[in-house]
C-alpha cells in the first residue's frame, strides 16, 4: 500500500523548505454518518520530522486540523541528499512513517 505521507523537501540556499500532505480522515467525533450515528474521533495527534537524529519540527494536532492535513515549515542546516524522516501517530495508536530525500 502506498504511504499515507507525501513530502516535498527542497533546499533553497541554506534552508530546506518542507511541505507535507497526509491522507487521514481527521474525524472530529462530532459528525454523524448517513445512519445518524456519530463517527468516532480519529485524528493524528503528533507528526514528527527528524533530520540526522534531531527533531526539527514537531506538530501537536487536535481535531480542528483539516482532513488530509497539509503543513509547511522550513529549517536550516540540511544538505542536498540528506534524509528527512516523517512519522505520525493518531489517537487510535496507528502510525505511519516515511523517509524523504532533501532535493
Amino acid at each position: 500500500m502506498a504511504s499515507s505521507i507525501r513530502v516535498r523537501a527542497i533546499l533553497n540556499g541554506d534552508t530546506a523548505e518542507v511541505q507535507t500532505l497526509i491522507q487521514h480522515p481527521m474525524d472530529t467525533g462530532l459528525v454523524k454518518d448517513a445512519k445518524g450515528e456519530l463517527i468516532p474521533a480519529h485524528y493524528i495527534q503528533q507528526l514528527t520530522f527528524t533530520h540526522k537524529d534531531k527533531t526539527v519540527f514537531l506538530a501537536d494536532w487536535g481535531t480542528a486540523v483539516s482532513k488530509d492535513p497539509y503543513v509547511k515549515f522550513a529549517f536550516k542546516g540540511a544538505a542536498k541528499g540528506d534524509e528527512l524522516k516523517v512519522s505520525w501517530v493518531d489517537n487510535k495508536g496507528a502510525t505511519d512513517s516515511l523517509t524523504a530525500t532533501i532535493q
Binding site: 507525501r6 516535498r8 511541505q19 500532505l21 488530509d68 497539509y70 509547511k72
Partner: protein, 566 residues
C-alpha cells in the same frame, strides 16, 4: 416603430451623444457584466439599493430621485431612463431597448477610430460568458467569438469560472485578448500536485497584468477576478483554485509595475464590486483608475478616493450591455496628469447595428431559435429582478417552484442579472433561460427547520449589508415565497431578520420542519433544471397573482438608496 423621442435622431448614423471629444493620449473603453446579452434588452435599474453605515447615501447607494438629483439628470430624460428605475415603464416605451453586441460593436469601432490606431484599449470586466440559455449551453464559447469580433484586448472573470477549468481553458485558448487575474492562486494541494499555473513560483493560475504602449505611454492593466468565486458558487467548479481580494499581492504587483517595469499608468480591471473597490482604493496605493464591475452599478462619474500616496478613481459600468465607459487619459511620464470619464448609455435605437456582428449573432443563435421561441405566457405586469430584496420575475420563479414541487416555502437566489420584460410582452422560453441559465440549475426540495431558514436569511443578508465591504459578496438578498419577514439592514448578523411569518399568518417556528424548494444550491442536487420547472408552470397555470410574501424594512426611512417598490 422607433420610439418617438429618438426618431428624429435616427436619420444620422451617430448622434452627438456619441461624439466624445478627443482628450489626452490614451483612450480606454470599458464594458462589464454584459451577461451574454447579445441582443438589445430592457433592464430596469434597482429602486432599492441600500447603503448603510459609511455607505449611506454614497454612490452606488442612490436610487431614483436621489440619484437624479446627485448627478443633475432631468427626470424625463433618456439618461434618467438609462441610469435609474424612475418611471421606468413609461420611459421604456419612449427610449426603447439598450445595448446589444452589434450596437456595441458600431459604437466601439467609432470611438476607437476617433482617436486613431494604437491609441485605445477595449477592456471587459467579466460576467461576459454567462446569462443566456445559449451561453450556458455552449459554456461561453459563443461569447468568445463575439468578444474576438468586438476586439476585446483584455478581460477578467466571475461567472466564467462556473463552467469549470476545462471549459474555461478551452475558451481562453480561442480568446484573442488576455485573461488577467492577479488574485487567483493554486491551492496548496494543487500546487503540491503540480497543477497547471501561469507562474509556479507564486502559484498564480493566470497572468496577473499586461503592459501596453498606448499613445506613447506605458499602461499597465491588472486583472482582479471576483474574489469570492468558491464561496458564491459550488466549489466543485474550481477545486484547485483559491481566490480572495489579495490586497498585499496586489500592492506588490503595482509597486513592481511602477518600479522595475516603469509604467506610466496603472489600471485595475476589477470584478470586486463597487463597495469593495472603494475600500481597496483607500488602502492600496499606486493605482490610477479602478474600472469596476460585478455589482452592476451604473455610475456616471468616477468617485475619487484618496489614500496614503495619492488618489484613485473608482468607476462601475452597469450591466447587460446598457453602457460603454470611455476613459480618456492624459498620461505624462510616470503619471496620469488628467482624466475624463463618460459612461455612455447604449440606446440601441440610436446606433446602427454592425452588420458583421449582427450576422455572427444571427448565425450563433440560429440552431436554438425554434425551440427557445416557444411562447409560454404573456406578461401582465413589469417583470424585473434588480433590487436588494424583491423582484417580480423572482416572484414568478418562486411561485413556480412552490406549486410544481409542492413546497410550503420557495427560495431563489438574489442574482443581479436577467433582463426586464414589459407588461404585454410575450414570455418565451429563452426569456426564462435568461433569468436562470447557470451551470448548477438543479432544483431541490429539502426539509428545513425554522431556525435553519432564519440562519440562511441572516447569512445571506450579512453578505449584502456587512459594515465591512470586504465581507460583502455583491449579490442581492435571497428571494422568498410563502414567508414574509422584517429586515433591519443596519443591524448585525443574527439580529437583522425578524417577524418570520408563513402565508397562513402563523409565525415560523424555529423547532418545526418545513418543506422548502429552491435551486442554485451549493451542494449537488438532482432535481429538474429550474427553467423546466418555471416553463411547465407558465405553460400550465400562466402568471398568477404571486408575491404573497412581503419584506418590511426597518431603519431605512430617508435612505437615498430606498424608493418605494411599486
Amino acid at each position: 416603430a422607433a420610439p418617438a423621442l429618438l426618431r428624429s435622431a435616427q436619420a444620422a448614423d451617430t448622434v452627438s451623444l456619441y461624439d466624445v471629444e478627443r482628450f489626452g493620449n490614451a483612450r480606454i473603453l470599458h464594458m462589464t457584466d454584459t451577461h451574454a446579452q447579445l441582443r438589445p434588452v430592457y433592464f430596469r435599474e434597482p429602486s432599492v439599493n441600500i447603503g448603510i453605515g459609511e455607505m449611506w447615501g454614497r454612490p452606488p447607494h442612490l436610487v431614483e430621485r436621489a440619484f437624479l438629483d446627485r448627478y443633475g439628470i432631468r427626470p424625463d430624460s433618456a439618461e434618467a431612463y438609462a441610469f435609474t428605475s424612475f418611471e421606468f415603464e413609461k420611459s421604456a416605451g419612449r427610449f426603447g431597448r439598450m445595448g446589444g453586441f452589434a450596437h456595441l460593436k458600431t459604437l466601439i469601432d467609432k470611438l476607437r477610430a476617433d482617436v486613431g490606431d494604437h491609441r485605445s484599449l477595449l477592456l471587459d470586466g467579466g460576467d461576459l460568458w454567462q446569462g443566456t440559455g445559449l451561453a450556458n449551453a455552449m459554456r461561453g464559447a459563443d461569447m468568445v467569438n463575439a468578444a474576438n469580433l468586438l476586439g476585446i484586448d483584455a478581460m477578467t472573470g466571475h461567472w466564467e469560472f462556473t463552467y469549470g477549468e476545462e471549459a474555461l481553458r478551452a475558451n481562453l485558448a480561442r480568446f484573442k485578448g488576455e485573461f488577467l487575474a492577479q488574485n487567483v492562486f493554486l491551492t496548496e494541494e494543487a500546487a503540491f500536485n503540480d497543477a497547471k499555473a501561469f507562474d509556479t513560483g507564486s502559484g498564480r493560475v493566470f497572468k496577473p497584468a499586461m503592459i501596453k504602449e498606448i499613445g506613447g505611454a506605458r499602461i499597465a492593466v491588472i486583472g482582479q477576478a471576483f474574489p469570492y468565486v468558491p464561496i458564491a458558487h459550488p466549489r466543485r467548479f474550481t477545486p484547485d483554485w483559491t481566490f480572495g481580494i489579495r490586497e498585499e499581492e496586489l500592492q506588490k504587483l503595482v509597486d513592481a509595475l511602477r518600479g522595475a517595469d516603469k509604467v506610466d499608468a496603472v489600471i485595475l480591471l476589477s470584478h470586486n464590486g463597487m463597495d469593495v473597490d472603494l475600500k481597496l482604493a483607500s488602502r492600496v496605493t499606486g493605482i490610477d483608475v479602478i474600472l469596476g464591475g460585478h455589482t452592476h452599478d451604473a455610475i456616471p462619474q468616477p468617485v475619487a478616493v484618496s489614500n496614503a500616496k495619492g488618489a484613485t478613481l473608482v468607476t462601475n459600468a452597469g450591466s447587460s450591455g446598457k453602457f460603454l465607459a470611455v476613459l480618456d487619459l492624459d498620461i505624462a511620464k510616470g503619471r496620469v496628469a488628467d482624466a475624463r470619464y463618460k459612461l455612455l448609455p447604449v440606446y440601441s435605437e440610436l446606433v446602427k447595428p454592425d452588420p458583421a456582428m449582427q450576422a455572427l449573432i444571427d448565425q450563433t443563435q440560429q440552431p436554438q431559435i425554434a425551440a427557445w421561441s416557444e411562447k409560454l405566457a404573456t406578461s401582465d405586469r413589469l417583470l424585473y429582478r434588480r433590487g436588494n430584496f424583491e423582484g417580480t420575475i423572482d416572484d414568478v420563479i418562486c411561485e413556480a417552484l412552490r406549486r410544481e414541487l409542492d413546497a410550503e416555502i420557495a427560495l431563489s437566489p438574489g442574482f443581479r442579472w436577467g433582463p426586464t420584460l414589459l407588461a404585454g410582452q410575450s414570455i418565451l422560453l429563452e426569456d426564462v433561460l435568461a433569468q436562470t441559465a447557470i451551470s448548477y440549475p438543479e432544483t431541490y426540495v429539502q426539509q428545513l427547520t425554522g431556525a435553519q431558514i432564519k440562519d440562511v436569511l441572516e447569512d445571506v443578508c450579512d453578505n449584502l449589508f456587512n459594515a465591512d465591504p470586504y465581507l460583502q459578496q455583491g449579490g442581492d438578498m435571497v428571494r422568498l415565497e410563502g414567508l414574509s419577514y422584517r429586515c433591519a439592514p443596519s443591524e448585525t448578523i443574527g439580529s437583522r431578520i425578524s417577524d418570520l411569518t408563513l402565508d397562513n399568518g402563523q409565525a415560523l417556528s424555529s423547532g418545526k420542519t418545513y418543506k422548502v424548494a429552491g435551486w442554485a444550491s451549493m451542494n449537488a442536487q438532482d432535481g429538474k433544471p429550474v427553467w423546466d420547472v418555471v416553463a411547465t408552470y407558465l405553460r400550465g397555470v400562466g402568471l398568477t397573482s404571486g408575491g404573497t410574501n412581503k419584506v418590511t424594512l426597518s431603519g431605512v426611512d430617508g435612505n437615498p438608496g430606498f424608493a418605494s417598490q411599486s
